[in-house]
Symmetry: C2
Subunit: 367 residues, 2 copies
Amino acid sequence: MRTTLCDTLGIEHPIVGFTPSEHVAAAISRAGGLGVLGCVRFNDPDDLDAALDWMDANTDGRPYGVDVVMPAKIPTEGAAVDLAELIPPEHRDFVHRTLDELGVPKLPAEEEQRDGVLGWLHSVARSHVDVALRHPVRLIANALGSPPVDVIEQAHEHDVLVAALAGKAEHAVRHVDNGVDIVVAQGHEAGGHTGEIATMVLVPEVVDAVGARAPVLAAGGIGSGRQAAAALALGAAGAWMGSYWLATTEYQQLPGNAVTQRALLEAGSSDTVRSRIYTGKPARLLKTRWTDAWTVPGAPDPLPMPLQNILVSEAHQRIMRAADPSVVSMPVGQIVGRMNQVRPVADVMADLLAELDATVDRLNGLR
Amino acid sequence: MRTTLCDTLGIEHPIVGFTPSEHVAAAISRAGGLGVLGCVRFNDPDDLDAALDWMDANTDGRPYGVDVVMPAKIPTEGAAVDLAELIPPEHRDFVHRTLDELGVPKLPAEEEQRDGVLGWLHSVARSHVDVALRHPVRLIANALGSPPVDVIEQAHEHDVLVAALAGKAEHAVRHVDNGVDIVVAQGHEAGGHTGEIATMVLVPEVVDAVGARAPVLAAGGIGSGRQAAAALALGAAGAWMGSYWLATTEYQQLPGNAVTQRALLEAGSSDTVRSRIYTGKPARLLKTRWTDAWTVPGAPDPLPMPLQNILVSEAHQRIMRAADPSVVSMPVGQIVGRMNQVRPVADVMADLLAELDATVDRLNGLR
């Protein structure tokens, strides 16, 4: 199956795979899709630079992309230490008390508390763009919608396309007005930041709203060829898949991911929750004892972005060390119910494409 | 497009249309789908009998179905007047105060307060089944999942098929174990009672879980041929559509519906809310000043089914008389964003089928 997107991006199959792992991203590109590496975890631009060097050496010259997290307006700035002063002590107390109650060990004295994820800061996201543009990236996607217009122009000067996530048709139109090249229509069932409108309703709305001005990728609920076929039927030029790659062999290659993966493999499609506890904006997460703790009476309301992520950064560090699947803090979509085995990316892609083809055959058989 | 469902139900197109209006239901059946009449509003079985007489005379001998609302277990019984005593006075006070604040006039002295909708009571739902089985219905659907096994057997003795709504794969399996013939996989984006899992994820899960034991209809988010094609791509044997028929000419024929329809035409896909205020169970409704009032701090938690519906029955009567689109109380799915014009059912069906066909052509063109 080829769509206009394949020509636009120079890829074989209309499958774009978002992932926090360069191992997964490279494998997706090698398998004929577009691997998109999430940059948010790279506090130090040099680390991202090194990861992209590795991507350049491991993608067989195939195109790949990066994903940044950049609010379009009112950037919140300041070093993590300054922002930390804005966090109410009751919130800190709640987090510490909750982790203790959940049996998550404190950090050992010799382990320094890290800064947490700073990619939510505008300046850090900008540094990601600067680094990416020194590499042969084909696409910069922004998880928070349209990036500022000057960033889009900067990308275009390097012949790099810009994609933006949208949870409403009117947002998609605004993105395209700003110069965004590709819209990712992210449905309610998706992992990470999501809106209220489900993929089935959102995708045709966005497609109709942007018309021929930009191809639309369907995101949310896609983890099989039937679902990819449904995405194309809805008018999408391809599928944007994030969660599903978390169940791959390649994903295990980053430290700590094996425990997260175990938790994901055991979860059903009902085991997610949409909550502001991860970043301050509504994001779909795996439902665990950690997310449950924020819903009991007396739990504080999550803070706005970027404070909430700073608040929970030590918690994430402790949780990662705890290696307990029942408390992991991980964005994932409802498709987690279909993530029941660990396979190499190439096998996932091959099965998905075969089922996509079989689905179109089946539809033809109904006429 | 023909699926196994077409043969099972004796219909031309794999489109099943749920509607509270016998005018709409008959028109759907005449257009080659299966019109399914919602029975819940018929407190008096004789009124349902008369409506089905009318259906018999106006469906040109085509098959049609009915939909009842029957909990599988622990039926709550008692006359409305007894149940009413279980409602806390604070809840009643809140409803009266809220309606006054919303500018919804009190009932005129000469208008008697009606009993509200009693179809939620097991005995009333049973009477609906008894009446339906005296008519040539092809299908009895149950909005609350599997009906009790003896009701399924009663239907089968009359050669009538039984469908049950399911929001989770494990529920669907239980329904089929009970003898249910057709599963309606109702996604989060659907109007009325819904679960958490979106159509895109739910449908393949249910299809895989029930296998060849029962055809699955996809419900939630379907109002165009692209969405119907997506439903079939996901593995459904057809589409179950409810909300979309509310924007038809035929729907206007019941008193009061024109105001409701006006509110629906103006709404976008973000203008729904999933709330327990309509029946006591989570149901997706049009977001209006009435639903907003239940979300302000200090508003009471909705009561369990069937008490909540009894609590709001006078409110619904007042709201209906008020004829103010900004306060209507109406179940509808996110597809409401696509309901922007009023057309005859036959036109809706024809357009949907043409787009469904064009969508499969388009998918073929991608190979």
